[in-house]
């Protein structure tokens, strides 16, 4: 897809129709194709074509938004007029200064033909391949194979004009030893995942064999007592923790309102010096996106640099409150929750996963977490369960699979003591995060399944 003339006509028409002091139009057109499989066969197979046009109208310091999914001239006109009408009805927001002014948007390659061309039959063949590999080891496979094409266009009456065509794909495989319907704590499962914009980089067999390998290794899990353990968190587990840390801590709204763990700690050491975290929309290892939903170029923002709190991300509203410029991290309006990182990267280290295991006297190896949630945002306490491969490490070796455990852990505190950072990293689509494994001397597992 490209930002074609029809889309631009929609945008220009909406900007004119609103009649407000300032106007912004965001058009997102998306074609999603998702193949889900369970018991080694496709059970849900879908295609979806949708649009979303949001007009933000500003009258003085009053702001209104209206959204439609219809691309007809009548619908665009009435949506623009509705936004302006709502703005005139709204109470003044003294904190609102202006929509952003235009800034140069760097060119970025985000659309890949192999992804766009992926057919239902191709995805079915991938499922057959995965099912066959699972069957070789007496497993069944479930998972999903996602392919999307998206066009994003942002414009405002101050001259912002940004558009981007994107593709994205992700494959998730769960191998299960005994098949769905017979689930329980004794059932071994294994997980593997791939995500990227260019489908030609996907190796289906490798992903399938990784999930099956985990599953086979996870057979006959034993129960271990909850408590503090040394923990080796594989990249999917680290990604889950980082995503929640972003939600509660790295956005300007959370800091300005006093909710973030970073309040008053900028420039202080808050984590171990092996930890560096930044957000970079142009990092090709992640899902590249050069601008945000206000059409502002995404800046690389160092959040944690060698353990020291260095920065947070802004949209135009939160930036204006501090007399700063947006870092290009706005989400679609209206958004009272504020900006957030969406292309997170954690610096890799020098240790392989095998080295981490070999240097562990007694600990747990965690593949991923399930249903993570925030227990206390300011203290960064999270809880969640392990899932799809949890193993006991003794005297430098994986000795047994273990039943799932619940953790309840202050994440910033646990990142203050890090034994090793992994040399390999992976992209995780759901979390929008590229990160390595971590070996932590202490991680609190608070109850057992």
């Amino acid at each position: 897809m490209t930002a074609d003339s029809a889309t631009m006509q929609i945008i220009e028409a909406a900007l004119i129709e609103s009649g407000a002091d300032q106007s912004e139009v965001v058009v997102i057109s998306e074609r999603t194709r998702l193949t889900r499989f369970a018991s080694s066969a496709i059970h849900q197979n879908l295609s979806e074509k949708k649009h979303r046009v949001t007009v933000r109208a500003v009258v003085g310091k009053r702001v209104g938004c209206a959204t439609t999914n219809r691309l007809t001239a009548d619908s665009i006109r009435s949506t623009a007029q509705k936004a302006a009408q709502l703005a005139r009805l709204a109470e003044e927001n003294p904190d609102f200064v202006s929509l952003p002014s235009p800034v140069p948007i760097p060119a970025a390659r985000t659309h890949f033909e192999p992804t766009a061309r992926c057919r239902p039959e191709d995805r079915a063949q991938a499922v057959k391949t995965i099912a066959a590999i699972a069957a070789e080891s007496g497993c069944t496979a479930s998972g999903s194979f996602l392919v999307t094409e998206v066009e994003v266009a942002v414009a405002n009456s101050l001259g912002v004009r940004a558009h981007q065509s994107l593709t994205e794909s992700a494959l998730t495989v769960i191998a299960s030893e005994s098949g769905p319907g017979l689930s329980g704590y004794e059932t071994a499962t294994g997980y593997a995942h791939w995500a990227g914009r260019d489908l030609s980089a996907l190796d289906v067999e490798t992903i399938a064999r990784k999930a099956v390998g985990k599953c086979v290794a996870g057979r006959k899990p034993i129960a271990v007592q909850p408590g503090d353990y040394a923990a080796i968190l594989e990249p999917p587990a680290v990604a889950a923790l980082l995503m929640f840390l972003c939600w509660i801590g790295f956005g300007a709204t959370a800091v300005q309102e006093g909710r973030s763990f970073l309040c008053g700690r900028m420039g202080e050491r808050v984590m171990h010096d092996s930890i560096s975290i930044w957000d970079d929309g142009l990092d090709a290892r992640g899902l590249v996106m050069p601008f945000d939903f206000e059409g502002v170029a995404k800046q690389r923002v160092d959040l944690i640099e060698r353990g020291v709190a260095k920065g947070i991300v802004y949209d135009s509203y939160t930036a204006h409150k501090e007399g700063k410029k947006s870092t290009g991290h706005a989400f679609p309006a209206p958004n009272p929750y504020g900006p957030g990182p969406s292309n997170l990267v954690m610096a890799t280290g020098s240790h392989s996963l095998q080295e981490m295991i070999a240097t562990t006297e007694r600990g747990l190896l965690v593949t991923r977490f399930h249903y993570v949630n925030v227990v206390h945002p300011k203290r960064t306490i999270l809880t969640g369960m392990t899932r799809d491969g949890t193993f006991l490490v003794e005297a430098g070796k994986i000795t047994r699979a273990v039943r799932n455990l619940r953790f309840t852990q202050n994440v910033v505190e646990t990142l203050g003591e890090v034994d090793a950072v992994g040399s390999d990293a992976a992209l995780h689509q759901a979390e929008g995060c590229y990160c390595p494994a971590l070996k932590l001397p202490r991680f609190a597992f608070t109850s057992a399944a």
Partner: protein, 480 residues
């Protein structure tokens, strides 16, 4: 619109489908959000599109589009058939649908005052005043209040002859105060956490909330919580307030009774269920006091409708009777696998989503106690109210919930407030400890507007009837 659905079904059958259904969903949403005395969001949204679901060679395909021109509808139908043919390449167990009588019906939920007709100024004034009242204590640094109204018209046609039109109106809102000080942060919400209180109905739903009095109370409680003692760890009798009971039912009963989860449809994402089919009629889910029903007929519920998205009529089903697990939420396909007929639990989050088995109104039936009687029998325990954090494992057994506020009970009386109360347990052991449920005077049908399931993510609006309930021995404390 129904004619357009019929055309889509015809086109799908002509393209090779053995079964087809089509849904057009037209949804209008209005939302207002106020934060710290400022209107931060004022939004109107309209959404319309068509989704077609087909069976070819016993395999499923689904296609949806917002483009509804003549050629577009043909393409939607053909895409759905092509997807189903691709599904068939992987040799799934052929889908067999349990029988349903074809229905021709029109249905509308009940409301008194259309909230879309209420002046915007009146709505904003209500939120701004609630915001002001919640921020009377200086410790309250953030107050967020919101109102949301949804009108949904749904048109359904199937190749078996069903033609159904339904219209629903929902209203809801709430207030949340966040107090910050001395390195601590505490939140209180009214009427409940998780986006407030929502129900099928009109502006009268909002008028019945008494938002202003509630806002003042939670603002004060949030400030007091900053210096309240931390809830101790240990095993205690606890009373769980009604809104928290709604979440407890949702996570530990509502999700594990979804029969598609049981059969592994969600294994790669949300997980499966410990409630496997051999447990029906055998498994002790809770104490004999525990009676839970799935009821899509109860007025005012977010899970109330006339027909589900397969054209199956709404009904009331026993889920747990006198503590014994006895029924699932089912689709036509999953019911057939058990030799049963669907109880109408298939719903989709809009035109562009495939129907999945979703909770309707999963209700814990009231008991006979008053709240005072329940408290009076506790020597030392706690009463926990309003959700702050929730998490449960992928088979729905090990859960951990943190509530916004706790009240310490000693010798049959509430003696003070505690902060950061967390309780955890394993589903059947937890429900087996239920030794009192408050009576119908304390029972309320709560709405949950953000029940997540499926890929792409679907957010469903479901109901939970609940009264405060007491549990004889529950583990408290997990935080560091």
């Amino acid at each position: 619109m129904t004619e357009l659905c019929e055309r889509a079904v015809d086109l799908a059958i002509r393209a090779g489908a053995s079964y087809a259904d089509a849904r057009i969903v037209e949804r209008a949403t209005e939302s207002l959000q106020v934060k710290n005395g400022k209107v931060e969001a004022l939004q109107s949204e309209s959404d319309l599109g068509l989704g077609v679901r087909v069976l070819v060679e016993g395999a499923w395909g689904f296609a949806a589009s917002a483009d509804l021109g003549g050629a577009d509808v043909q393409k939607i139908a053909e895409d759905a058939v092509r997807l189903a043919r691709a599904s068939a390449l992987t040799s799934p167990q052929p889908a067999v649908l349990s029988e349903v009588e074809p229905a021709r019906a029109t249905w509308k939920s009940e409301w008194r005052t259309d909230p879309f007709e209420v002046p915007m100024q009146e709505k904003m004034s209500l939120l701004l005043e609630a915001d002001r009242r919640a921020r009377q204590r200086e410790e309250v640094k953030v107050c967020e209040s919101a109102l949301t109204f949804v009108r949904e018209r749904k048109y359904f046609a199937s190749s078996e002859g069903s033609r159904i039109e339904q219209e629903r109106l929902e209203s809801g809102g709430g207030v949340k105060a966040t107090a910050i000080g001395n390195g601590e942060m505490q939140e209180r919400s009214y009427p409940s956490a998780l986006d407030g209180f929502h129900a099928a109905g009109g502006w009268e739903v909002i008028e019945g909330l008494d938002l202003l009095a509630g806002a003042e109370k939670i603002g004060s409680e949030a400030a007091d919580l900053l210096t309240a003692p931390v809830c101790p760890s240990g095993t205690f009798p606890i009373i769980i307030g009604a809104s928290q009971m709604a979440l407890q039912i949702h996570e530990s009963c509502g999700h594990p009774i979804e029969l598609d989860r049981v059969f592994g449809s969600e294994a790669s994402y949300a997980g499966t269920s410990f409630l496997t089919p051999e447990k029906i009629g055998q498994f002790r889910y809770g104490s004999p006091l525990v009676n839970i029903v799935a009821d899509s007929t109860v007025p005012g519920g977010l899970g109330t409708f006339a027909y589900d998205d397969e054209g199956v009529p709404s009904c009331r089903t026993d889920i747990v009777r006198e503590g014994v697990f006895c029924g699932y939420l089912m689709s036509r396909e999953t019911a057939a696998r058990l030799g049963l007929r669907s109880n109408g639990a298939m719903r989709a989050d809009g035109w562009n989503r495939l129907p999945l088995i979703r909770m309707t109104n999963i209700n814990l039936e009231p008991g006979t106690w008053t709240l005072d009687e329940m408290i009076s029998e506790i020597k030392h325990g706690f009463m926990l109210e309003n959700t702050r954090s929730w998490s449960i494992d992928d088979v729905r057994l090990n859960f951990q919930f943190t509530t916004e506020i706790g009240w310490e009970i000693r010798d049959g009386s509430i003696v003070g407030m505690v902060r950061n109360p967390t309780y955890h347990g394993v589903t059947p052991q937890f429900w087996a400890a239920c030794d009192a449920i408050a009576s119908k005077e304390f029972w309320k049908l709560w709405g949950v507007v953000n029940c997540g399931k499926g890929e792409p993510a679907q957010s469903m609006r479901v109901g939970h009837g609940a009264a405060p309930a007491r549990f004889s021995a529950v583990r408290l404390g997990a935080e560091q």
